[in-house]
Every structure is written in structure tokens, then in C-alpha cells.
């Protein structure tokens, strides 16, 4: 691939909680327009890495550059402007429980733009539909939604300001296989149509095989390798080998190969329930 624009650049990142060092000398690049999957064992600091990049967690040392700007050195106004270019989907959705789905989507619109209510409602309905939710979901409260619908509603909210980068923290965790596959397809469709860059933390091997362009493996407090999946698979390290060559890894690879052949025949497909 030719010279690609770097959206996120992490250099020498160090994160520490008390005596426990989570990251040490961690380097990572995320390029424009790609879907980067981040994998790692429980407690390897995947979520902490995400929080460091979006500025929720101040690193002990190192530099994090987002769109070429050092995240920790921004003024409040610059930070807010930068945050508006990032959409974040938290693990459990983090929808505001006292607001309906449509109101949740309208929160950032209301806060950052001076728009008439009717237009905001139109845009909110559009985002909700883009996230693959039925139109009547907008009037519902988060407590009335199923797990998969909550993820979609949270995705709609993270898309509200048309971000350039989307951060997803385990988007398919807790979804049934059908829901998870549909969510994967949705992310792929959105990336293609909205030109998003996606930073995706996942445990889901199927997700890795079906939608990720590159995979970053987090272990030993740093990124061991960040490359295309076939190179990562061949990477010689015990944890990586066990992860990808274990029974689940092989099954996911097989499934992806089969469905890849199928979709090659039927053309671009984006199943949505």
C-alpha cells in the first residue's frame, strides 16, 4: 500500500495505576480509512489504550497524536473540537437512561450546533436508521431496548456529529451470533459509505476475520505486532499462536473463508435484520 495518512499516532506510551504498569513504550499507528482490530488478553489494557487516545486517561509518559495534534497539550476549546471528530461506542452503550434514543442522538447536536428542532429530529431519525434501528426505536428509552438495539442506539449517538474516527469498545460482546454478524456488516457498510476510520477493540474472532483490515496485538504492555491478519497469524509468539491457532481461531478463519467465497459470488452484501 502506498503512503497513507496517519490519523492516530501513539509513541512511547506509558500508563500506570499505582505500582501496576499497564503500558510501557507502546507504539501504534492508525491510518485513514482502515478498520483496525485491537486484540489482547483480559487486563492487557485495551480499554486503557482507547481511553488514552481519546483523552479520558492521562498517560504517565509518551505522546498520543490525533489528527496530528498532541492530545494532552490541547486547550479546552481545541480538545472539544477534536472530540467532535471522534465517535465513541462504549462497551455497555453508555446511553443516557433518562432520555429517549432520539434525544440521546440529539444531545451532541443540541450542544454543539444551533439547529432548529425539526432539523435535529430529522438528522436524529437519519442516524437511527443508519445504525439499522427501526424508526419507532427513536421514541423508546434505553431500558426498553434489547442488548443489540442498545449497541445500535449507542452507535447512532456516536455518529451524531459525523465523526471521522469511530472508537468501538467490544461492539459485539454480549450479542448473539446473528446480531454480532449483522453489527459487523453494519460497521463495514458505514465505513464504506461514510469514509470512517475505525478503531475496534474486540474479543470476537469472527469480527477480526470478517471486517478488520489490520490487527494489533496487545501483550507484554505493548503492541507486539500491528499488521494484516495473515501476517499476524504467522507471527511467532506463544500468546498469538494460541489465540489464532486455537480451536475458536481456526473455526472463525474457516467461517470467514467460506462466507468470503459466498459474498464474492453474490456481490457486496450487507445483511441487516
Amino acid at each position: 500500500m502506498s503512503e497513507r495518512e496517519t490519523i492516530i499516532e501513539v509513541r512511547g506510551l506509558r500508563n500506570q495505576f499505582g505500582a501496576q504498569v499497564v503500558h510501557e513504550n507502546l507504539d501504534l499507528d492508525v491510518y485513514k480509512g482502515e478498520i483496525l482490530g485491537v486484540v489482547g488478553g483480559s487486563g492487557s489494557g485495551k480499554s486503557v489504550l482507547l481511553r488514552s487516545i481519546i483523552g479520558l486517561n492521562r498517560p504517565a509518559a509518551g505522546s498520543v497524536k490525533l489528527f496530528g495534534r498532541e492530545v494532552t497539550e490541547l486547550s479546552d476549546a481545541e480538545r472539544s473540537a477534536l472530540e467532535q471528530r471522534c465517535g465513541v461506542l462504549f462497551q455497555n452503550g453508555a446511553l443516557f437512561s433518562s432520555l429517549t434514543v432520539a434525544e440521546n442522538v440529539m444531545v451532541p447536536l443540541r450542544e454543539h450546533h444551533d439547529l432548529p428542532l425539526a432539523l435535529m429530529q430529522r438528522l436524529a431519525a437519519l442516524k437511527i436508521a443508519l445504525a439499522g434501528l427501526p424508526a419507532d426505536a427513536g421514541a423508546k428509552y434505553p431500558s426498553q431496548l434489547s442488548g443489540g438495539m442498545i449497541k445500535r442506539a449507542a452507535l447512532a449517538r456516536s455518529l451524531a456529529l459525523d465523526p471521522d474516527v469511530l472508537f468501538l469498545d467490544e461492539p459485539t460482546a454480549g450479542l448473539d451470533p446473528i446480531g454480532a454478524a449483522a453489527f459487523d456488516a453494519l460497521i463495514l457498510t458505514l465505513r464504506e459509505s461514510l469514509g470512517l476510520t475505525v478503531f475496534l477493540i474486540t474479543h470476537d474472532l469472527d469480527t477480526l476475520y470478517t471486517i478488520c483490515d489490520r490487527v494489533a496485538v496487545l501483550a507484554d504492555k505493548r503492541v507486539l505486532i500491528a499488521d494484516s491478519l495473515d501476517k499476524v497469524e504467522r507471527f511467532d509468539e506463544p500468546w498469538v499462536r494460541e489465540y489464532f491457532q486455537g480451536p475458536r481461531g481456526r473455526a472463525a478463519e474457516h467461517a470467514a473463508a467460506v462466507s468470503g467465497e459466498r459474498s464474492a459470488v453474490s456481490g457486496k452484501s450487507a445483511p441487516m435484520p
Binding site: 433518562s98 450546533h113 439547529l115 438528522l123 421514541a139 431500558s143
Partner: protein
């Protein structure tokens, strides 16, 4: 680098879009789109001058183009894909707004619902008290099923730990009552009656009432929050599937603990309140400690003490019942835990004061 999105209708009736068609210029674009549409401009749109495009801009372009989205020209592949995605989403996003209900209907409906809730709560509380008593009768003859550890843990939590706050507040209220009494009674030259005032009020009413209100806020709410969070994490269901009875395991130890600690706390509250009153008498009314004790000994009667004390177990039982019942009513979310904790405190304080008022009339009629 950001430029405002523009929309113009050129001489040939062609609609020309240019600049940033993004959320940032959405408000202005929205007005322009409506204006152009009013002037009859609809259909072919030249979008080649657009520098940036997002979903909001795509929405406007589609709005202008109407059904014929092939009419939008000057788009590259990426933008065409964006337009297609938005168009596809729009087709499924035709939400009809829910019908509006008139305000008066909502008011009546809400009133009705509130009345129904009060009735349901009362029925549920009576049922739950019955359940607690039935379980107690079942467990009592069977010492193996007494949950002694749990009982003592809750006595510590609801009784021992509450001593400082109960004592301090009663002391302060005792002092305030004495001050009030002294101020009014001095005008009649009867300031020595302050001793009776403090004695009567704390033995009969304030000792037990202050304790009950404090315990309702402190322990009743804690019961609701504890059981509520257990309910929302399915721990109560787990207890049931393991063949145990949640009322026996969770409710009885709490209720019995409160039943035992409340009279003791009430006693402490009475002493502290009278002590507070005594200090005021001694320091600002020139009543010596010996005189206070003499006067108190002469006027206070044991029946006042028993009238006050007899209410303590009743209040304790009701606070425990309401606290635990509200905990069981929690459903799912953390929000619900908060809601029911509030409701538990409000209900128990209401019930305590209401029963206290009824008891005052009852004891008065009995000449006690």
C-alpha cells in the same frame, strides 16, 4: 479552511451547491433548501462545487432532488455511496410522530395512576407484613434456621453504628425544646416547668419519633438499596433457586435486628434529649442540677416512658417492612434502585408520623 455551504439557483433554473455541506452549516443550508423548494426549484442539482459532504449535507441534497437522486450530478464514488446509504436509511426512517394526548387527559390519567399506586402499595405492604409474620412463626421454633450471624451484623449496622447520630440529634433537639419552653414560660414566671416540658416531650414523643425518622432515613434506605441491588443483579433469584427463602434469609434478620436495636436507640435518644434540656436549664435558667433532678423525679412518671417505648418496636417493624419490600420491588436498572430508595424513605417517615399521631389520640383517650 472551513467554508460555508452555499446553494444558488442560477439563471437557467439549475440548482448549484458549493462549499462545505456539513453539520456546521446545516442551519443556514436548511433555510436555503426550504427557500429554493418554495420557489419551485426541485430536481437536478449540480453538486460538483461541494468541498466537504457529510450525512447532514447528503440529507439536504436528497431533499432537493426529491425522488430522482440520479439528478444529483458531480459526485465521486465515495460521495455517491454516502448518498445511497443516506437514501436507504431515509426510506426506513419514516417515523410517524406519536399522537398527542391533550393535557387534561394526561393530568387525569396521572392522578388516577398515583391513586392506584397508593392503593397497590398499601395492599402490598399489608401482604408483605403478613408474609414476614408467617415466616417468623415458621422459623422461630426451629433454632437451626435462626440466622444469628446475620442478625448480629445488622444489629451492629442499624443499632450500634447509629448511636452517635441519634444521641447528638436528640441532645440538640432537647436543648432547643428547653430554650423554647424557657422563653415562653418565663413570661408567666413559670420557667421551672421547662423541666416537665422536656421530660414529657422526650419520654412520650420526641425520643421515639426522632429515632424512628433517623432510622428510616439511615437503615430503611440502606435495606432498600441492599436488597434492590441484589434484586437487580439476580442474587435474589439465585437465593430462590438454591432452595432458600429470601424473606427468611434477608428480611427476617434485618427486621429482627431493627426490632431489637430500636428500643435501645429510643432509650438513648430520651436520655440524650433530657440531658440537652437539663444543660439549658442549668446554664440559662438558674435551675441547679440538683433541683432539675428533684423536679424531674417528682413530675415524670413511668407511664410516659412506657407510652414512648411501646411505639419503638412498632415503628421498627414498619420501617423494616417498607425498606425490604421496596427493595424487592426494584427492577433491573440502577435508576430503579434510586427510585425505590427514595420511595422507601418517604413511605416510612409518612407511616411513622401517621401512626404516631394516631397513637397520641389513642393514649389520650385511655388517659395514659
Amino acid at each position: 479552511m472551513a467554508t460555508q455551504g452555499t446553494l444558488t439557483l442560477d439563471a437557467g433554473g439549475r440548482i448549484v451547491a458549493a462549499g462545505d455541506w456539513t453539520l456546521a452549516s446545516a442551519a443556514a443550508l436548511g433555510r436555503r433548501v426550504d427557500e429554493i423548494k418554495r420557489r419551485g426549484g426541485k430536481g437536478a442539482v449540480d453538486a460538483s462545487g461541494i468541498s466537504r459532504l457529510d450525512t447532514a449535507g447528503a440529507e439536504f441534497l436528497l431533499d432537493l432532488a426529491g425522488d430522482a437522486r440520479e439528478g444529483i450530478t458531480g459526485l465521486d464514488d465515495a460521495r455517491r455511496a454516502l448518498i445511497e446509504a443516506v437514501a436507504k436509511a431515509q426510506s426506513s426512517a419514516t417515523a410517524k410522530p406519536p399522537p398527542r394526548t391533550p393535557g387534561i387527559v394526561l393530568l387525569v390519567a396521572r392522578t388516577g395512576r398515583a391513586v392506584e399506586t397508593i392503593w397497590d402499595d398499601a395492599v402490598a405492604l399489608v401482604g408483605f407484613i403478613g408474609l414476614m409474620l408467617a415466616t417468623l412463626v415458621r422459623v422461630l421454633p426451629n433454632p437451626r434456621r435462626w440466622r444469628v450471624t446475620s442478625l448480629f451484623f445488622h444489629i451492629e449496622q442499624t443499632g450500634l453504628d447509629a448511636v452517635p447520630i441519634v444521641a447528638l440529634l436528640s441532645f440538640l433537639v432537647g436543648a432547643v425544646v428547653a430554650f423554647l419552653g424557657a422563653t415562653v414560660l418565663r413570661d408567666f414566671g413559670a420557667s421551672v416547668f421547662t423541666v416537665e416540658l422536656v421530660g414529657y416531650s422526650f419520654l412520650r414523643e420526641f425520643g421515639v419519633l426522632l429515632t424512628a425518622i433517623l432510622i428510616a432515613g439511615r437503615s430503611g434506605s440502606a435495606f432498600t438499596a441492599q436488597l434492590g441491588s441484589m434484586k437487580s443483579r439476580e442474587e435474589i433469584d439465585a437465593i430462590r433457586t438454591l432452595g432458600m427463602d429470601p424473606v427468611e434469609v434477608l428480611v427476617l434478620p434485618r427486621a429482627l435486628a431493627l426490632l431489637l436495636s430500636m428500643p435501645l436507640l429510643t432509650f438513648i435518644a430520651m436520655i440524650a434529649g433530657i440531658f440537652g434540656g437539663a444543660l439549658v436549664c442549668i446554664f440559662s435558667l438558674d435551675i441547679s442540677p440538683g433541683m432539675f433532678l428533684q423536679r424531674f423525679h417528682d413530675t415524670a412518671q413511668a407511664r410516659h416512658f412506657w407510652v414512648g417505648m411501646s411505639k419503638a418496636p412498632l415503628f421498627a417493624f414498619l420501617i423494616a417492612a417498607i425498606g425490604c419490600l421496596e427493595g424487592f420491588k426494584v427492577s433491573g436498572s440502577a435508576e430503579s434502585v434510586g427510585e425505590h430508595t427514595t420511595s422507601s424513605v418517604v413511605q416510612s417517615i409518612f407511616v411513622v408520623i401517621m401512626i404516631d399521631a394516631l397513637a397520641a389520640i389513642f393514649f389520650m383517650k385511655l388517659d395514659l
